[in-house]
Symmetry: C2
Subunit: 433 residues, 2 copies
Amino acid sequence: MKDVSVGICGLGTVGGGTFNVLTRNAALIAGRAGCNIRITRVASRRNRDDIDLGGVAFSTEIFDVVNDPAVDVVVELIGGYDTARELVLTAIANGKHVVTANKALIAVHGNEIFAAAEKAGVVVAYEAGVAGGIPVMKAIREGLAGNRIDWIAGIINGTGNYILTEMRAGRAFADVLKEAQDLGYAEADPTFDVEGIDAAHKLTILASAGFGVPLQFEKAFTEGISSITPYDIAHAEQLGYRIKHLGIARRRDEGIELRVHPTLVPQSHLIAQVDGVLNAVLVDGDAVGQTMYYGPGAGDEATASAVIADIVDVARIVASGSSLRVPHLGFAPDALEKLDVLSMEDIQSAYYLRITALDRPGVLAKIASILSEHGINIESIMQKESEVQDGRIPVIILTHTVQERQVNRAIAELEALADTDGPVVRIRAENFN
Amino acid sequence: MKDVSVGICGLGTVGGGTFNVLTRNAALIAGRAGCNIRITRVASRRNRDDIDLGGVAFSTEIFDVVNDPAVDVVVELIGGYDTARELVLTAIANGKHVVTANKALIAVHGNEIFAAAEKAGVVVAYEAGVAGGIPVMKAIREGLAGNRIDWIAGIINGTGNYILTEMRAGRAFADVLKEAQDLGYAEADPTFDVEGIDAAHKLTILASAGFGVPLQFEKAFTEGISSITPYDIAHAEQLGYRIKHLGIARRRDEGIELRVHPTLVPQSHLIAQVDGVLNAVLVDGDAVGQTMYYGPGAGDEATASAVIADIVDVARIVASGSSLRVPHLGFAPDALEKLDVLSMEDIQSAYYLRITALDRPGVLAKIASILSEHGINIESIMQKESEVQDGRIPVIILTHTVQERQVNRAIAELEALADTDGPVVRIRAENFN
């Protein structure tokens, strides 16, 4: 059996998990891969006392790994943008395959990196970058290869999903965030997770592989969950919906929608039942219909599971000397379509609107009339006398699908009414049909 | 771009779907595969008026396809055992790759077929055989390659799941079955589906690829859903459980469990929420933890989606002339472990027991004492005075996990008690932890 040599850059959470699982399951993995996958080098700024490297060469200089002629596969687990980019491009220039868990790197520099890899005839694999241990990139790039994928919607940030799940018990965002930080689910600076940037990185990658378009992270729309209230969560539930922080990508003739935002989803849909730190990605293909992929989106060994699946794929290429490649984005580079990302004004969605109205006769008629003038049809409406406070009453409206531009215009008019008070709360909704 | 020639045997539901999707999405699929996948031959006992073959050679003799030197990939969609086996073995002998949706063929003749294919250097791909359009075989064989897979549990028969879903409304099995037959969800002879044979075919394949063991369909245990009553469904719900018809495979040191039977699963688990004709497969790996794969388990284009994913994989091999192979069961043939299937007496499970007791003092103590003597711990117990009828009262017990042998012995003693009436109803339960 041939040996394939792997060098690991970065010995943090995922690096440690990858080292441990590769070591623990070495015989089993060799039985699957048809070759011995040997870790021959590990480099990291800091070594770890809790991991027994068992004689594997360790260095604090990560470029030692990519410059070692004996290394076949470089595993980039240092995270970040600039150094990671340089490391990966150097590995490619040195003719090495790369496996990475770095979603930010792929979302932002992926087009450049994939082009370099294709020129050099090497593979840059990134399953672990999207939804942790869930093999969803393989599903989209290979398992659904016969389909025109029409849309993808995912719970792809565990921190945000944990917070929204806990808020269903009536707790405030800030309160649950603090708890998540104490539990280690959320960072001290939670922006990346709760404002949707991390999810947008993953969604960008999902959309490109799903639709066959270049990576366009800079055009992704992000809206976080920090302004979601237990009040809106409870009222969405009364309407039969649950609020999830979704990444949604949809292919339309005019371009693609690429957006991360809180979203009402029907309670009866399986994705509404995905709670806590778990992830799930729903994919709609023209032949298969809806499929969903569920599991842990983070964690040392869960992410390592995806890293190792990529290592096995690449090791088979190394061991067989094969020229067989699954294209990086699932489509041959010249088959990628230059579809633009649509502006948010051009997306189509249903909407949950909460309008604070003065409790006087005729207001509802005015509201309905404004919506109607903008071509917005009402799916359901909820207004409860018991909720009158200081002469004001919340009017909650769920609309049918409409263009966001129309909703923006209607909201501006609603807010300008003398019969309403303060801003209209707007949360997008999806029915997945 | 190279051409890869595909011959389709069988133009029924899946054959027609495959032809239509391959034709409709030809450009997109070529962009993914990096080669033109051309259907050059179709053979079927009967031609179909509703499909425009657009000049593709049609024949009523399926062996024309496997004997055509121009065909690179044979797609076997005729179903059944003997002719399909002969067709596939002939294709292999002629040096052709094979794609099949035939779970029965793989479960029963897979060891022989894979050995022949490995000797000939060709691939027999069978994603469509398990859970229809859900790319779960790819997930297990490749996406989870770093894991020791510990267990797999799946809703892998849509007919059975539809029936159990409808029965939650209090309807009887026979009533719902008739409706399912009228809707076309169930065959006139429903045995294959409702008695678990179809699910056992799929489970056999899942277990072999998950654990790396030869296919052993003949040792799979099957128990159908025809004796499940709305009464037990309702009482399971009161205990916080839902009854699903699951295929369960578990790897133990002594052997593997391979069993299809009605199973109580916690309502809070995502798999309990999979309703109607849909399928879902839950896989537990030592690194990743639990992941789940959900979608349509049948249907013309959904199944075609999996068939075409396999065709694309194989087409890349043909076009590149590569020797790279993912082993048929995910493990190199010499890495397969000869683990036996355990007898049902040796499996471990929790149990739902319904005992019809005479409504007199001391009976509960006797029941508890028998369970205790056999090392069976009680998780919960339910007995309602309101359910007394003709001096008899149902006692419902949910046990902790125990060996089935112990439960068999306890049931024999319970049924022998003068204080009980008739057989004890026993339904296995899983907590997935």
